[in-house]
Amino acid sequence: MPFAFAGKMLHVNLTTGEIAPKPLDEEKVLKYLGARGFNARLLWELIPSGADPLGPENVLIFGTGTLTGTSAPTSGRTTVSCKGPATGLYLKTSVGGHWGAELKFAGYDYLVIEGRAAKPVYLLIRDGAVEIRDAADLWGKDVRETTRSIEHALGDPDVQVACIGPAGENRVLFASIMMNYYNAAARGGVGAVMGSKNLKAVAVRGHGRITVARPQEFRRAVLDAVEASYQDFSAKTSYLYGTSASVAVINELGSFPSFNFRSGRIDNAEKISGPFLVEAGYLKRRMGCNACIFSCHRYCEIDSGPHVGAYGGGPEYETMSALGAGCGTVDVELVIKANELCNIYGMDTISAGSVVQWAMEGYEKGIITEKDTGGIKLQWGNPEAILGLLEQVARCRGFGATLAGGVRRAAKSIGRGSEEWAVEAKGLEQSRVETRTAFGYALAFAVNPRGPDHLHTQVLAEFGTRPGGRALVAKITGDEKYAFPRTLEKRADIVRWHEDCYAATDAVGLCSFATTARYGVTPELLARMLSAATGVDFFESEGLLLAGRRIMNLEKAFNVREGATRKDDHLPYRLMNEILAPPSAKGDERSAAAAGRPDAVKEQIDSQAYLDRMLDEYYELHGWDKNTGLQRCKTLGDLDLGDVAAELDRMGKLAKE
C-alpha cells in the first residue's frame, strides 16, 4: 500500500452494474495533489463536452484529500465533483465530517459513479467489498430517516452515510448530499446529480489504516501546523462561537446581506449570532470534522415554543444570513427550524434562502401574488412563508416547482424585471458576502468557475484587520498597504495567490479555515506535511502553489470547453448596479479616501468599469487573453497541461498567442 493513500479507486457504473476497483495512479494523483484536483482531471477525461448534467453521461466523483485519514490538522475534507446542473459548468463541493476518512479506511481514495440505475439503489462499501443494493424502501425518505434506516439495517451505528433527501430525488437544482446527518456537500446541485442517477446513498465502513512515509518528520510538521494554527485568536472564537461568531461584526460593517441583499444590516442581528446561540442555550454541542483542531461546527436544539424539538448541525454564518436576515428575520428559532428542514430534505441553505427572499421581494413588488403561491403570504420574515416555501421546493410542489430551479430560472419564468433582484451569476445564487464593499472578493466571485461564492477563493486577508492577513498581503504584493478592501490595486495578485492556495488546500484535504482564514498552515507547512506523508519530495511551497494553479486552470478549461468566455465572469445585477447604504452617515463622511487612501477610488464597486479593470489585470496575470478570457497554449503548457491545450485547440477554444 502506498503511503498516505489507500491505494485504490472505485468505478461503479450504475447503468451496467459493473463494479471496478482499480489501482490508484499515485503519480497522476499527485500531479493534481488529490481530491478537488484529481477530481477535476477525471471530470475533464470522463465527461463529454455538452453532456446533460442530469443525464447518465455526467459522472459524480467523491475524492478524498491526500492527507485525509491522517492526523494532519483539519484534514477531514472530501471533494464531490460533477458537471453542475445549476450552471451547466464545472462544479466542486468540499465537505467535512468523517465520510472521506472512512472511505480511505475502507480501502478507496476515490469513488467514481457513472451511468444511471434503472431503479433506486444505494451503494455499500465495507472494507473493500462493494455492493449495489436495492433502495426502493429508502426512496422518499428524508436524510435522517435514510441514514437511520441504513445504520439499523447494517446493525452498525458507526457506518458513514452520504445520502440525498427528497430534494435530490426531485432534482432540485440546489439539492445537497448530506454526510452522516450534518455535513453538507451543498452548493450547485450535487444532490440533484446523485438523484438523477437513482442513487440514494453511499454507505461506507472501513477498518483499515493510513500510514505515512516518514512518521517522525510528519509528526513534527503536524505539531508545527497545530501550533501555528493556534497563534491567531480567531481559532478560539471559532471554537466558542462557530462561523456565526461573525454575524454581529459583519452587520456592524454594514455588509451583512439582509432583505435579499437590499441592505447590509438588520436590526438586532445579535439575535442570530454565535454568541447568542450559546447564551440562550440553543447550543448543545460543539463538533469537529475528522482531525479538526478548531471544532467550529455547532449542534443546536430548541427546547420549547412553536418549534420545540427542532435540531441539527449549524446554523452557520451563511445560513443565518440566507434563511434569516436575507428573508427579513432575526428569529433564531425560525432559522434553526428552516435550517433543519434544509438539512433533512437535503438542500443548500444558501440557495434555498435565496429563492425564498427573491420570491419575497417579488411579492412586495406585486409581481408574485397569493395566486402564485397557493395562498402563502410572502411578507418579509413570515415564518409560514419561509417554512412553507421550503417544503414546497423540496417536494417540487406548487410554487416550489418554480423555485426549485434556482433564482435565475425562476426569474426567467416570472420575468417583469425580477432578474434584477435574482442575486446570482452563472446560475448559482451568490453566497452571503457583500462583494460591493470588498473588491478582492468581487473579483474572486466573478471569476469563480462554479459561480459567485467564497468557497473557492477566500480573500479575508484583503481586509487588513489581522496581523496574519497583513503579513500575507505584504508577501504577495510587496507592501502591507494593499491589505485594504476598497482599492482596485493588486486585487488580481491577491486573488490569484488565494486561488492557488485554496485549490491546494482542498486537494490535500485540509479545511480552508486552517490556511486562508487563519493563516497558520502556510503553503510551506502544507508541503512539509504532504512530503513527509507521501514520501515524495517535490512539494516545496512554490511547487504546491503551482499545482494549485494547475487545478484552477483545468477547472477553467472545463468551462471553456463548455463554451464559457469572459462574458460569464460577472456579478449579480443588483451588486453591480445598486448602491448599498453606508454602515452609518458618520462612516460615510469618514470614508477611506478621506483617511489618506488616495487609491480608494470608491467606497463600493458600482460599475462594470471597475470590475473590468480588475478582470483585465487578472487575465493578464494568468496569461489568458483579456478580451475573450480564453487560455493560451503556452500558459497551459507551462503548467504541464499540454493535452488540455491540444483539445481546446482542436475545438478552436484557445486564445491566439
Binding site: 472564537t237 461573525s246 445579535e270 452571503r432 484587520t465 489581522r466 487563519r518 458618520k586 462612516g587 477611506a592
Partner: protein
C-alpha cells in the same frame, strides 16, 4: 476639521457577549482611538485579557485598520465597536 477646546463624546460598544455593553465616554478634543482604548482597558476584563492583535475595532462601520489604526482621530458622536477577532464563515 477645525479644532475646538470642547470635549467630545464617543460611544463604545463592547461585544464581550452577544449583546454589547454600551459605554459613553468623554474625551479631550484631538483624542485618538489609542487614547480611548487606554482609558477603558483597565475597567474591562475582556479588554484586559486580549491584546491589540486579538481585537477588531470598528469605527462608524469601518475597521480602524482601514483608517489610521490606533492613531485614527476621534470626533464627537463617533461609535466604536470592539470585538474579539474572528474569521471564516
Amino acid at each position: 476639521m477645525e479644532q475646538t477646546n470642547r470635549s467630545i463624546t464617543v460611544s463604545l460598544k463592547l461585544f464581550n457577549r452577544a449583546f454589547p455593553e454600551r459605554i459613553s465616554l468623554t474625551l479631550q478634543p484631538g483624542a485618538r482611538v489609542r487614547d480611548l482604548m487606554a482609558k477603558v482597558e483597565g475597567s474591562s476584563l475582556f479588554l484586559k485579557e486580549l491584546g491589540q492583535d486579538d481585537l477588531l475595532l470598528i469605527l462608524n462601520g469601518r475597521p480602524v485598520q482601514n483608517l489610521q489604526g490606533y492613531d485614527t482621530p476621534l470626533e464627537d458622536g463617533d461609535v466604536l465597536a470592539v470585538f474579539p477577532v474572528m474569521a471564516g464563515g
